[in-house]
Symmetry: C2
Subunit: 150 residues, 2 copies
DNA sequence: TCCATATAATTAGGATGCTAATCATTAAGA
DNA sequence: TCTTAATGATTAGCATCCTAATTATATGGA
């Protein structure tokens, strides 16, 4: 998360440019807008998921299992491949989702180390419940915040 | 942070649109690109600061003090106003920066509750050291990743 | 076969974020 | 004045992320 509320003014970036001539002021200005807008949207999404006893990460785990073509589910390692989070976080997130009844976990046939993770009916129901609000929140944000290129 | 590596394809968004007609597929696609690009840049910035025994948050605390016009420094509450982080995080970040010798802390005249926080010479030196690499990293990222509108 | 290596998952320990509650001081009003 | 409310900062407790190390199982080559 990028926490700076007021981005540097053009004037401030100009001052930095004079001090550090190699700096590309326009690229920096655009990058900071990107970071700030992304962080604001992430804040809004986290609040949405928290209000529904979930989190962004748990939601994404459900999503990547849901969007897999077959019905065989995914191994934790496959989830880690699809998400940019460490293995231990996958372990703990999956554990929480299994405990919440949103994921099923069965030993992987043919590999004693692994477990196959599938969405339960409750897990599918949670996704179906949350997706409309998720899309609506995003659309609101994009409409309200503009495209940041102003 | 937004952890999904492969954003949904146009096809997948189309499928969601059929299931949830109120959804604005283009706004969602753009928002997810924003989130993912912002997260990648944040990952790169965090790695840069970690390699220099700092963090994004500590860096931003130094920046907001540095960019204040006067030389009187800031109260912790003023830092919290300028950054989108909670008060306790300001307390602990400031404590770490004072211990590292990058911030000075003196009782605020006229208010027995508050402290005035100022950059030390070492704090200014750290900023001067890190800023060129910070700007270079951002410029590299923006050049390499394009503007995301492709 | 059997040992070395690779892979799936977890555990251990630490960093950093949050909210709610608390302490100390200041400001405001009856 | 004296009590109440507001403000600056911190503490307590929890959630979630990380890296490094560990455990258990598979795989591949001498």
């Amino acid at each position: 998360m990028f926490f700076l509320k007021d981005l540097p003014t053009r004037q401030m970036l100009q001052t930095y440019h004079e001090r550090y001539p190699g700096m590309n002021a326009e690229a920096v200005a655009e990058a900071l807008r990107l970071l700030r807008r992304g962080s604001l949207l992430m804040r809004a999404l986290e609040a949405y998921f928290t209000a529904h006893t979930l989190s962004q990460t748990r939601f994404l785990v459900l999503i990547v299992i849901d969007r897999e073509p077959g019905q065989e589910g995914l191994l934790a390692s496959a989830i880690a491949d699809r998400l940019d989070i460490s293995r231990p976080v996958v372990t703990e997130t999956v554990k929480a989702l299994v405990q919440a009844g949103l994921l099923g976990s069965v030993p992987a046939p043919g590999d004693g180390r692994a477990k196959r993770l599938t969405l339960t009916l409750a897990g599918r129901a949670v996704l179906a419940d949350l997706l409309p609000g998720y899309f609506a929140l995003i659309a609101d944000f994009m409409a309200r915040e503009g495209d940041g290129t102003a």
